[in-house]
């Protein structure tokens, strides 16, 4: 059940692209169904969670690094999953109406599901590495959601900064998790949480803690990383209501709570969490008062409340942990409803600027009442849920028994934070709904549609329910989740509305009256609306450092490549030379005494030909046609070397690739100038020649050193297992399609991508049809060459037969998919050359791109077939089949894979050559 709950949202994501074709309300309905089903699944597990059981489910994934696909559900996971799914459901409902003008609802809800799945994964992971993966996925999917309106610069900026901050925090978290797993001896939470003593005793403990805190603090927007959250307010409001109240920003808090049993209890934990939490709480609450943007106020308020929760987790008593979890619930409910209310106001007024929206009470009293209850919860007014957790916080602040001066600072700061939060909550209500100044809104406001209010109503009802009957509504949930955080017996506490007159109550009264006085003083005394918002120092520091890094890398790149490509290549070669020369001077013996083979006159003459051709190209490279022909000589000598030194497969491959390569270069010469004037100054030429000589000499020396040293190979394994395990005697082919088939799969993917890339580039390019070369000599108008034409047509069936033969015997004799594919491609290209591209392409009814893609599919299907049979990806099987007349024929599943290779090679090669050959024609056809 656990993996079903986690993966349900992701499984639904592809459905959204189908939903795009259906009616508009299909996508939100689908999203609501997913949330609802997952929620129902979660609730069926509630009884055993409330009995105190920790449910786990696991599957081995990458055992070598300790990564398992394992999930757990304890009280803490349950609490967060419940929040994610219920608020998710309400947000889906809300977004349906909020985004009624949006053209692509399917995309929005698909992204929302992506995020929901990632978030569920974070809170339900049993494995720490898995948790990290989901953690990063929340950052990525929230990047897409915050930047959803990507045409707005603010949205792009906000998304980018949020990703940069939470992403770099994620990297720190990964380092922390890896260290933690090393110290604890496992990445499974069950074992890690039990290894508290060992982790605390480790000298690495401070490092682990700091790294994990960096992850949590960036995610939960703690000072000084808080600045990304106000920037992320450029997101559509349903996204803010979801990500920035209940889920994404709570992931950091969740991490602190999750790690509580193993990392909490030290002085470092205490001071770091209370310190940063306290600063965040007070600073952000103060800042919130001066925001003119409704959502900006809410964002700073969120930062402040997150600080409060961090602080509570830092205090470290059982009751403070309970208070922290309680506040998680309360904040999620009232903040989500406030974001939704802000969205309604924005939606109906066309602006969120509190200097322009005033006196809305006359227009939307119903929304106003809802917002008032939620804002009261935010301020901590009695009878609403925020009051209860704030009382608990005040109580814990007073009861602090450690920390020296903090004993005094904490209660005072707590009241200060309370005063500010009352003031900004009051501003949210008074400034927007009352404060009778003339309205300057782009639209005339009115109450929103019925369905847009329902999610707000439900959330506000929860605020009241919890506020009035806390024992009845949340006591059990809090007990079981606190038990998971404390990893011990459930703490004793009772939630009551009235505890009698005590110090926390007096602190609340001070905060309430102080906050009201402060607000009216600021609003009327200091003329709040004329207040100019100060610049955000943390954000400016961030922007500066980003610009600084960009300037440095820019200057480096300019240095390296500013003078053009040649200087970049020179730099690369010099670097390689430096690194390569180093061992020459440090090692004492460079060449060995392995036995060598004597040469013969034949070898010497081929060698001489190769050297002459290579050097010839160096001097003749400007006469391009000649250079290409001489280049093919080099290729043929290389082929001969392969033949001579026992590599028949390589020789066949080189020979056929040589053919298509030379054709390719000749085709290129059709579009490029045939001859090039001398370009580089003479001193450069000399310098380049010297550099090339040194590099060539070094590489030659290296080869000599390698060839004369003793040789130990790992190939004995392949040689002795090729027949028994792979069922083939051609070891090279068995390696390609069986032992290292996964590598080959990657390689044919590259080949297919290159083919598609060439086709795509040529499609975007308007190549002029050239009727003459650079010097004005007209191209021949003959499109076919009769002798070759006849020969090609005659040869084609024979060549295809040879190709089939090479393919079928490839597992046992030289041949196989690569070679057979190239031979087929050469045969077909010959037809194009002989009979003319137009004539041939009119008769060739095959889509080469589709051929290449089907090859990839065949190869992948072979691999997946192995998985379905219970073996790892691309495991091969073989046997023999009796075919009438032919007899016993070896059949290996690897041959099917080889067929995939064959199709990719044929398809890509022909795609490249025919598209290149036909580009000019296509252009001519386009412009008659």
């Amino acid at each position: 059940m656990l993996p079903v709950i986690v993966f349900l949202p992701w499984l639904a994501v592809p459905l959204f692209s189908l939903a795009a074709r259906g009616p508009r309300s299909l996508a939100p309905w689908l999203a609501a169904m997913v949330d609802f089903v997952a929620l129902a699944g979660l609730l069926t597990l509630a009884p055993s969670v409330f009995d105190g059981h920790t449910l786990t489910w696991g599957l081995s994934w990458v055992p070598q690094i300790g990564l398992t696909l394992s999930f757990r559900l304890d009280g803490l996971s349950f609490l967060f999953a419940l929040l994610i799914l219920t608020i998710g459901l309400l947000v889906v409902l809300y977004a349906r109406y909020y985004l009624s003008d949006e053209p692509r609802l399917d995309r929005f809800f698909g992204l929302l599901m992506l995020f929901t799945g990632a978030m569920l994964g974070v809170v339900m992971s049993e494995n720490l590495l898995l948790l990290f993966i989901f953690w990063e996925l929340t950052s990525l999917s929230s990047f897409l959601l915050v930047g959803y309106w990507s045409h707005k610069p603010g949205a792009r900026d906000g998304a980018r900064i949020a990703l940069a901050v939470t992403g770099s925090g994620g990297l720190a978290l990964l380092a922390g998790i890896v260290l933690l797993g090393q110290v604890a001896g496992s990445y499974e939470l069950t074992q890690v949480l039990a290894a508290s003593a060992r982790v605390h005793a480790s000298p690495l403990y401070p490092v682990i803690l700091v790294l994990v805190l960096l992850g949590a603090f960036t995610k939960s927007a703690q000072f000084p990383f808080h600045f990304w959250l106000p920037g992320a307010m450029a997101a559509p409001t349903p996204v803010s209501a979801y990500l920035h109240s209940a889920t994404m920003v709570k992931a950091g808090i969740f991490l602190l709570a999750r790690m509580y049993p193993v990392l909490a209890g030290s002085d470092l934990w205490f001071y770091a969490l209370t310190g940063f939490g306290l600063v965040t709480l007070v600073f952000a609450a103060y800042q919130a008062m001066f925001r003119h943007d409704l959502k900006g106020l809410l964002a700073y308020s969120t930062v402040s409340h997150l600080g409060l929760i961090t602080l509570l987790l830092g205090i470290g008593t059982p009751l403070s942990a309970v208070a922290a979890l309680f506040h998680v619930i309360n904040h999620a409910t009232f903040k989500a409803s406030l974001f939704m209310a802000a969205g309604i106001i924005d939606h109906e007024c066309g602006t969120r600027d509190m200097r322009r929206i005033n006196g809305l009470w006359r227009f939307m009293p119903y929304t106003g009442s809802l917002a008032m209850v939620a804002a009261a919860a935010m301020a901590g007014v009695p009878l609403v849920n925020g009051f209860l957790s704030k009382e608990m916080f005040f109580g814990e602040a007073l009861a602090l028994e450690r920390g020296g001066g903090l004993q005094w600072i904490l209660p005072i700061a707590a009241v200060m934070g309370g005063v500010f939060s009352v003031a900004y909550s009051l501003r949210f209500i008074h400034d927007v709904f009352f404060l009778d100044r003339p309205l300057q809104t782009p639209r005339t406001p009115h109450e929103p549609p019925r369905w847009m209010r329902i999610p707000v109503e439900i959330l506000v009802a929860v605020c009241l329910l919890v506020g009035l009957f806390p024992g009845f509504s949340v006591q059990a949930l809090l007990t079981v989740s606190a038990q998971a955080v404390l990893a011990g017996p459930p703490p004793e506490f009772s939630l009551k509305l009235w505890h009698g007159v005590n110090v926390p109550l007096i602190m609340s009264v001070i905060a309430l009256t102080g906050g009201v006085l402060l607000y009216f003083l600021v609003q009327y005394g200091l003329d709040l609306h004329s207040h100019v918002q100060g610049r955000n120092l943390a954000k400016r520091a961030f922007d500066r450092s980003v610009l600084g890094i960009a300037a440095v890398t820019d200057a480096l790149a300019r240095r390296a490549y500013g003078g053009g490509m040649t200087s970049g290549v020179t730099l690369t070669i010099l670097t390689a030379l430096f690194v390569g020369l180093f061992p020459f001077f440090t090692s004492t013996t460079s060449t060995g005494t392995a036995q060598t083979h004597p040469s013969d006159p034949m070898a010497l003459s081929v060698f001489a030909l190769m050297c002459a051709a290579s050097v010839g190209i160096m001097f003749a490279h400007r006469r391009r046609l000649a250079a290409v022909i001489v280049l093919s000589v080099v290729g043929l000598t290389v082929t001969l070397a392969f033949v001579y030194f026992s590599a028949p497969d390589l020789a066949l491959t080189q020979l056929s690739v040589e053919t298509v390569s030379i054709l390719l270069l000749l085709l290129a010469l059709h579009y490029l100038p045939q001859d090039a004037p001398p370009e580089t100054a003479v001193d450069h030429t000399v310098r380049h020649f010297l550099l090339a000589g040194v590099v060539g000499g070094g590489v030659g020396w290296l080869t000599w050193a390698m060839l004369t040293r003793p040789f130990v190979s790992i190939s004995d394994y392949f040689l002795s297992n090729s027949v028994p395990q792979g069922g083939g005697t051609n070891v090279v082919n068995v390696i390609l399609v069986d032992f290292r088939a996964f590598d080959t799969y990657g390689e044919i993917t590259v080949i297919a991508i290159a083919g598609l890339g060439v086709a795509a580039m040529l499609a975007a390019l308007r190549l002029p049809r050239r009727r003459a070369d650079e010097s004005g000599r007209a191209w021949s108008r003959e499109t076919s060459f009769l002798p070759l034409d006849l020969l090609a047509r005659l040869l084609l069936p024979l060549a295809l037969l040879v190709s089939m033969h090479l393919f079928i015997r490839g597992h046992n004799q030289p041949g196989g998919g690569f070679i057979a594919g190239l031979v087929a491609a050469v045969a077909i290209v010959l037809l194009y050359v002989g009979s003319g591209a137009k004539w041939s392409s009119a008769r060739m009814k095959i889509d080469f791109g589709a051929t290449a893609m089907s090859g990839l599919l065949v190869a992948a299907a072979t691999g997946i077939g192995a998985i379905l049979l219970g073996a790892p990806f691309l495991t091969s099987a073989y046997g023999y089949a009796h075919v009438p007349l032919i007899g016993k024929v070896p059949m290996a599943s690897a041959m099917l894979f080889d067929l995939g290779v064959y199709l990719v090679v044929v398809g890509s090669t022909l795609l490249i050559l025919t598209r290149l050959g036909l580009s000019g024609d296509a252009e001519e056809a386009r412009q008659p």
Partner: protein, 113 residues
């Protein structure tokens, strides 16, 4: 002169020619250099399995075989270098069509400007 020495010098000469051509200022020369350089690299990797005469890695009568691993590596490398060359060829053509020249190094005057 042993076979090993011949191969070593061949790899050296092809590398030299390849590097020299890659330093030319014209795209087409760079293409030629790239092709030569990939010949050199392929032969080098192939030679790392050592030179064997008359021992193709086809399981059969004989007892020793040439190293099949180096050959398998080089086989795919040959095909991939063709695909890569094709990609660069089209890049070169695109650059020439758009810019009207196939220099990769700006002119002196262009640098001064």
């Amino acid at each position: 002169m042993s076979m090993e020495l011949l191969i070593s010098i061949s790899v050296g000469v092809m590398t030299m020619a390849g590097v020299y051509l890659m330093l030319r200022a014209r795209m087409f020369s760079i293409l030629l250099g790239l092709t030569l350089l990939s010949y050199a690299v392929n032969v080098f990797v192939f030679a790392s399995g050592r030179l064997r005469i008359g021992m193709p890695p086809i399981i059969g009568a004989q007892h020793t075989y040439a190293d099949p691993l180096a050959q398998a590596l080089v086989l795919t490398a040959i095909v991939i270098s063709f695909a890569m060359t094709a990609f660069v060829v089209v890049l070169a053509i695109a650059a020439y069509t758009r810019l009207g020249h196939d220099r990769v190094q700006p002119d002196r005057e262009e640098l001064d400007r």
